[in-house]
């Protein structure tokens, strides 16, 4: 399905190879892959650290981000993601303020889905120590056992529950 605005999206295989080369560059230059949820976790760790320092120090999740939000590599990387996403969309005439949804779906229904979805993803990413970028994609390319377990579990449950949210896209 094409975009409802601007130029058509790139060929998925071509874009995928491009994405793979970006991931390979990260491995070669930094010795680590890409990510997204780590930046959120670092932000949460810093916030809790400011509010109640002993609490943050005890949490097995937050102790993994001792450097602070403005020193963590993944935070700079995710800032780049936001810039790159905007730049690409701008160049293709695809930037527009909207609530993306099906032609017959209401905005509140779609926003509810996004709210609930975000929450589940945040919880799942903390349990798994990563998300689709930092664990499935990065670990998948490095043949990490946990990454493949996470990837299969993610797709299995997404397929199982997707029909419940189909109304947002009709």
């Amino acid at each position: 399905m094409g975009p409802d605005r601007g130029r058509a999206y790139a060929d998925p295989y071509l874009a995928g190879v491009g994405l793979g080369l970006v991931l390979l560059t990260a491995f070669v230059v930094m010795g680590r892959g890409l990510g997204a949820s780590g930046a959120f976790a670092s932000g949460a760790a810093s916030l809790v650290g400011m509010a109640t320092p002993p609490y943050a120090a005890q949490s097995p999740v937050f102790v993994r981000y001792p450097d602070g939000f403005f020193r963590e590599w993944i935070v700079f990387e995710l800032a780049g993601v936001v810039l790159g996403g905007f730049l690409s969309a701008k160049l293709a005439g695809r930037v527009r303020v909207e609530i993306e949804r099906g032609p017959h779906a209401s905005a509140p229904r779609r926003m509810l889905g996004a709210f609930a979805g975000g929450t589940f993803m945040g919880v799942g990413a903390v349990f798994a120590r990563g998300c689709t970028s930092g664990l499935a994609l990065t670990g998948g390319a490095l043949l990490s056992v946990g990454a493949w377990v996470f990837m299969l579990a993610t797709f299995a449950s997404a397929y199982a529950v997707a029909p419940l949210f189909r109304k947002s896209w009709r």
Binding site: V17, L21, A36, V61, V81, I99, G118, A153
Partner: protein, 194 residues
């Protein structure tokens, strides 16, 4: 061995951060080009109408996997200095199941939600805010369940270690599965649009 550059040479903090922004920029650019800043396109994967997610993800995995393997084989990249995400079997299985519900409900993942938000989509922005809320709540809650969080810790374990097969054979299998998957994906899309 000349790579990973950041490990072989000592990069300054500013250099590391600048590289982080540059790599992220290319990452976000590739995601948006592929159409993965669009939740409508992403959910097509789960309704079997548009399998772009699979095609992009597996093209990327195969490309990076082959690159890492050959650069390691020719002695350019020191694989022992590349960080492999650690395995914690149970939390990653449960985490994946929980994450998948969110993926289908939100139609975005944390990275693509950032791209969606950056291109003006308010549903993407809502997902970003709630990912943060979910991370915060889970981080605070898991303090009371460290046994679950650290369950079945296997370290940086790879498929090669549990199957006994050499990396080359596993890579061959993953490439084969991906190619087969691409053929199936094309057939499924043809059927959906027929």
């Amino acid at each position: 061995m000349i790579a990973p550059f950041a490990e072989v040479q000592a990069f300054t903090e500013a250099t590391r951060q600048g590289i982080g922004v540059a790599i992220g920029l290319a990452f976000g650019f590739a995601l948006e080009r592929a159409g993965l800043g669009s939740a409508r396109k992403l959910v097509g994967q789960f309704h079997l109408t548009d399998l772009t997610v699979f095609k992009v993800m597996f093209s990327a995995i195969v490309t990076a996997m082959l690159g890492v393997f050959w650069l390691g084989f020719f002695g350019v990249l020191d694989l022992s200095r590349v960080y492999v995400p650690e395995t914690f079997l149970w939390p990653q299985l449960v985490g994946g199941l929980v994450f998948g519900v969110g993926f289908a409900a939100g139609g975005l993942c944390p990275g693509t939600a950032c791209v969606a938000a950056a291109t003006g989509r308010l549903d993407g922005f809502a997902a970003v805010v709630r990912v943060f809320a979910g991370v915060l709540v889970a981080g605070l809650t898991l303090e009371r369940a460290p046994a679950f969080y650290d369950a079945a810790a296997r370290g940086p374990q790879t498929l090669s270690e549990i199957t006994g097969l050499p990396d080359g054979v596993l890579i061959f299998i993953v490439v084969g599965v991906a190619l087969l998957g691409f053929a199936v994906a094309e057939a499924v899309e043809r059927k959906a649009h027929a």
